[in-house]
């Protein structure tokens, strides 16, 4: 039986051309040049709703990681315990007040890390994005906590 030879037609050429264009565009997009600077950044996080005395678990030099994605977040520079306060409705006087939660504390932790700066975001080691207002779930050596990024030093 005669073997049928495959002849390349116009449509095959169009398909190849489209695939090549997509591949080249994809490669160029993924390897586009970005100006990324590296620097040292200090930022402060608060860990709320902790039991009184919790700050004794956190030590200067501790390495902190994100407890969700396991990204490195930085090294502890300082820690300070403050009263834990929550907003409550005072329907007697007609006000919304901050009230101290007895037996609980908020820990203010300052972290330092090497970050990349692409002009829009600071990322610790190129991964963990640091912005004030972001919710955080962190873990250190033998402890964990939740809260927010409070400030990013300029």
């Amino acid at each position: 039986m005669e073997k049928r030879r495959h002849r390349i037609n116009l449509f095959d050429i169009i398909v190849f051309a489209v695939i090549i264009i997509i591949a080249v565009s994809g490669y160029k997009y993924l390897h586009r040049e970005k100006n990324v600077n590296t620097s040292k950044l200090r930022y402060t996080i608060e860990l709320t709703d902790n039991p009184e005395g919790f700050s004794k678990n956190i030590h200067e030099g501790d390495k902190i990681t994100d407890n969700v994605k396991n990204y490195y977040m930085g090294q502890v520079v300082s820690v300070k315990a403050e009263p834990c306060k929550k907003l409550v409705n005072d329907t007697v006087d007609g006000a919304i007040k901050e009230s101290v939660c007895e037996g609980k504390e908020t820990d203010i932790v300052t972290l330092e890390a090497n970050v990349t700066d692409d002009g829009t975001n600071f990322r610790v080691n190129g991964y963990y994005t640091v912005k004030a207002g972001l919710e955080v779930a962190v873990k250190g050596n033998g402890y964990a906590g939740r809260g927010y990024v409070l400030t990013v030093e300029r």
Binding site: L87, T91, I96, D117, T120, K131, A132
Partner: protein, 163 residues
């Protein structure tokens, strides 16, 4: 003549799959040309003009003043697009409504919380269908969005748009 013959060719000319691929390529090309040549807001010829709008962020702590400065670039968090430059930051004591024992709602101050207003200047296409910052981000007063700068992120509302 059959629509698709015994060899699977459309009108005896082209393979059905090949014809579909050509059709898809033509549709994509036509869509691209339409978007960038003929659509008012995205065409290269669309004139941009300065717009000023205000973003309101409610009930936040005064840490914000350390994190947001005049001159910072504001981005839409969802797309990551630049949506203007912050030119002014103002604040007022935050308020909210609480239910009172007599069955009424009372507007009260929230202790240690502020409402912050960012005045933002940007370039936008202004047309009958709206204002589009950098041709893509539609400004709608009252819309709730996620905003960010290099240092800060928040949920806020587009409070007002100046004409």
């Amino acid at each position: 003549m059959k629509l698709i013959d015994d060899k699977g060719k459309l009108f005896g000319v082209a393979n059905v799959v090949d014809a579909l691929i050509v059709l898809i390529v033509v549709v994509i090309a036509a869509g691209t040309v339409y978007k960038f040549k003929f659509m008012d807001k995205t065409s290269k010829g669309a004139a941009m003009q300065p717009v000023t709008y205000t973003v309101k962020v409610e009930k936040i702590r005064n840490y914000v003043f350390g994190n947001v400065k005049e001159g910072d670039i504001l981005y839409d968090k969802t797309s990551g697009n630049d949506i203007g430059k912050i030119t002014k930051v103002t604040s007022e004591p935050a308020t909210d409504y609480i239910p009172m024992p007599d069955g009424t709602f009372k507007k009260v101050n929230v202790e240690n919380r502020i409402n912050v207003y960012f005045t933002v200047e940007a370039q936008a296409v202004v047309s009958d269908s709206g204002r589009f910052v950098n041709k893509t981000y539609e400004l709608l007063a009252g819309s709730q969005k996620k905003f960010m700068t290099k240092y800060f992120e928040c949920d806020g509302t587009i409070y007002s748009i100046d004409k």
